[in-house]
Symmetry: C2
């Protein structure tokens, strides 16, 4: 069965800054069937460069980015659950973002797009969930920036989230994580084709965006996974290292599928995100949530290291909140949440099943 | 006493590729006094962006990049030893490199500069050492790319090196190390001002070079040292994160002191360097050396992780060669070899003193 991305428009969305976006579009996909009591809905939230196409196969034959986790019998079992995934606010895959037309001008917003936050992404998702008449999500799950949205949901809408699964994520970026994003942003803005963001009627800043993506790819892999995948092998055709060739290819490929201004806005939203809103301790803010947590990290993930997940776990345990934590062994680095399926799926399957049962008792 | 960088010109240098550079200049500094038997000479070899000004203070009041290690009573004790440091071939601080004038054309070499290797850098250093009438170095020491030159010296000129001190280095780059260098190169070449390297009569590719340097700085620090130095603190004047401000400043500052084409040539020389020349094992190549080794790495150095030093140590031990290895505890990441002075100086002081005594017995 072919999956098609769907679209909804809401008349307006008030952002955390107080600015009102009107109208606002959201692109989303659903898998499985919403039950009568609307108690089996799971929201999947995507990472930085993801989109609404999380599961199944689209008309062009492309598998969803988490298709190995979403489907009948899979980690998110669509024979039991109704799974929703939407493109984030600020993105470039159907939800309103800097490349969208500003109705006030008839031109793309570009850099006149308002500053957005992880909280704003969640507000838009809440509109979408409300539009289905779902008052309480069985679960919300996502890796990387998805995990930030999961945490934000749990503390902002405590009554609307029965369980939360933040994977390979953090409650706030470290200086190093901000630094990698800043290099990427500088690479984009250094490209003269960026033109202060006004490139929609001409050539996009492809060279800068490609460099930004190359930096990203290094941080998504581990030293060990790069050794296994490339080592010091040279390409026979041009004599360059395979790792160079791979990065160049992935960089140039990205230019065709991602908007440079979205890169700037979304990475900034990630960097500014701080669940504790400047406080040192995560205990008080996490105490607002009424959610069961399953927190997962991966041994070789040096971009979102396990200590960041453990900081969340410790804060939850301080107030005796319901949290299960596991660090999975993997060589894949940060990419592990997308590729290390087996153990992850087992954990999630069990966690969801128990959550469903406890929900029924309520 | 003010230190002045000196210059020598040699009529020619044959490169590993067979190409002959003629003439070839080398910029260097010396500290301390060469003894009558010329047995107290130590060659210091610099890292990627270093120069000949390793010790003392120059006419503008700038301290050398390893001044905390070089001087009377310091790790490299200039009251006992004669210390030499030269700018590498391919550099932009007085030794022949892409920004030098090609005598055949009267124009800067730019990208017509021949491909150079770590071995070629060492060949030029050998000419310099020979010009002093020094037949055997008491020691050769350097961190990062300096360590690669140390290793190359030890196996190429085994009779000319009594001891070798490679610090925070490797016998060959991993895929991840190559990847970071490749991103930097792509950032430079993506800058339209690069003009295929022909920018010497116009504007240098400053934006690309700044992005390249920003990537570098992240890899030179550790997650922990960035947390301690910047955390998530914001600058009061412009509201950006301190880490962003720091990287932008260091990036733009670098443009004034480094040549973009040198960046391309030198990083490529590092990436291509393989002490074992494609062989899996380092044992046979290291067996060529007749050198005492002191090998140092740092716990938080994730760019040149300790396992790379240990690979060299293991290979030396397999043939019962004389090697001392220590992993020093530091939060400073790869920068540690420049800033963690105390323990490093003690280790080197003792190692040099013992080498001097054993040398006298010869």
């Amino acid at each position: 069965m072919v999956v098609t991305t769907q679209h909804k428009q809401f008349p307006s969305l008030e952002l955390e800054s107080g600015i009102v976006l009107a109208p606002v579009d959201v692109a989303y996909e659903t898998y499985g069937t919403l039950n009568e009591s609307k108690s089996n809905a799971i929201l999947i939230v995507h990472a930085f460069s993801g989109d609404a196409h999380a599961g199944g196969v689209d008309a062009e034959g492309h598998k969803g980015w988490w298709d190995n986790m979403i489907g009948p019998g899979k980690g998110f079992d669509t024979s039991k659950y109704f799974v929703i995934c939407s493109n984030v606010l600020g993105g470039c895959k159907g939800s309103t973002g800097p490349s969208s037309i500003n109705p006030a001008t008839g031109q793309p917003y570009a850099m006149s797009f308002p500053v957005i936050t992880i909280g704003d992404m969640v507000r838009l998702q809440k509109l979408l969930i409300d539009s289905f008449g779902i008052t309480r999500l069985l679960s919300i799950a996502g890796g990387s920036m998805g995990g930030m949205q999961v945490l934000e949901w749990a503390v902002r809408y405590p009554e609307s989230v029965a369980s939360a699964i933040p994977i390979a994520s953090t409650a706030r970026h470290s200086a190093q994580q901000i630094a990698f994003n800043e290099v990427a942003r500088q690479a984009i803005m250094a490209d003269p084709d960026w033109c202060n963001g006004n490139y929609y009627n001409s050539k996009p800043p492809g060279r800068g965006l490609a460099v930004a993506r190359m930096v990203g790819h290094i941080t998504y892999m581990s030293d060990e996974s790069m050794r296994q995948k490339f080592g010091r092998r040279l390409r026979e055709d041009n004599g360059i290292f395979e790792v160079e060739s791979y990065l160049r290819y992935r960089g140039s490929q990205f230019v065709d599928r991602f908007d440079a201004n979205s890169y700037l806005y979304i990475t900034k939203a990630m960097d500014v995100f701080d669940l504790a809103n400047g406080a040192q301790s995560l205990v008080p803010v996490l105490a607002k949530s009424r959610t069961r947590y399953l927190i997962i990290s991966f041994t070789s993930d040096w971009l979102y290291p396990s200590y960041q997940s453990l900081e969340i776990v410790s804060a939850l345990r301080r107030r005796n909140q319901d949290v299960a934590y596991i660090e999975l062994t993997s060589n894949y680095g940060h990419d592990a949440f997308l590729v290390e399926v087996d153990e992850q799926a087992d954990l999630i399957r069990g966690f969801l099943s128990r959550t469903m049962k406890e929900n029924e008792k309520r």
